[in-house]
Symmetry: C2
Subunit: 135 residues, 2 copies
DNA sequence: TTGGATGCAAACGCTTTGCATAATT
DNA sequence: AATTATGCAAAGCGTTTGCATCCAA
């Protein structure tokens, strides 16, 4: 046996708490990837005393469980989204800072990698103005 | 007139210091984008007492001058590279964490943006193993 | 009752800034 | 001599962790 009990991490089966419900609901109702702070703001509508640390802990757990997926962005805090069907990318609005799903992928990356490099994956991020911010 | 003298920022014409020389040389000899810490390590070979803050300040100034370009990456500290000719993207090695230039671009992003969105730019990051790390 | 979950605050890693000192022009 | 540049340490920002308390099972 390990001999050393888990330090404090949320290891066992998840318990049903109002915080968890509110956090999960924030993602379900957003319809787009959320940053932790955005998730906090939304979830606080249900649980006003909710703390940011709780949001981070739950996001981490949901990601580990596969109920949430991490969306890493260049030069911006990560967003988190509910897992969707196919391979897709994201659009980052320069005005409202919102992130939106983009269903498709141009493909054709195989030829880009320099000789001797092994290509294992890719990321595409589109920038501009979302429908709500475009004039 | 402004009436208030510059707070402390490096505003005037750049002076020639050994630190600056070493920092610029770090990028010139690297042949690939560098993170601030990588730049520090390289520049310290010439100026051992060089401080990290000095590296950050000089990088910021070089970027403002256009002598250096920022390479932002998802979930990783930004790199900085000497400005090259055409539009290009980057390859991020999962093993050594190094970043390398990729000369081409697949294009074809125009069709991806959702309806009503205004596409203004894009970023592509390739992942895998660089020539030095590939088996 | 009991171990996981929460909230608050402190700690962290990366980056920026304040300030006294060192160095360039 | 006048100022900018440097180095160090402290502050900021987003994220994680420690800990006493709270609560679901």
């Amino acid at each position: 046996m390990t001999g050393r009990r888990s330090p404090s991490p949320d290891a066992g089966p998840a318990r049903r708490t109002p915080q968890r419900r509110a956090i999960r609901r924030a993602f379900e109702t957003a319809g787009r990837p959320l940053a932790p702070e955005e998730c906090l703001a939304r979830a606080r509508r249900e649980v006003p005393r909710l703390g940011l640390a709780t949001v981070y802990r739950n996001i981490r757990r949901l990601v580990a469980e596969g109920s949430l997926r991490t969306v890493e962005l260049p030069g911006a805090p990560a967003r988190y989204e509910l897992p969707r069907a196919g391979h897709h990318h994201h659009f980052h609005c320069r005005a409202c800072d919102g992130v939106f799903e983009v269903d498709d992928c141009p493909g054709g990356f195989g030829a880009l990698a320099p000789g001797g490099f092994r290509l294992e994956g890719h990321e595409v991020i589109l920038y501009g103005l979302c429908a709500g911010c475009a004039p």
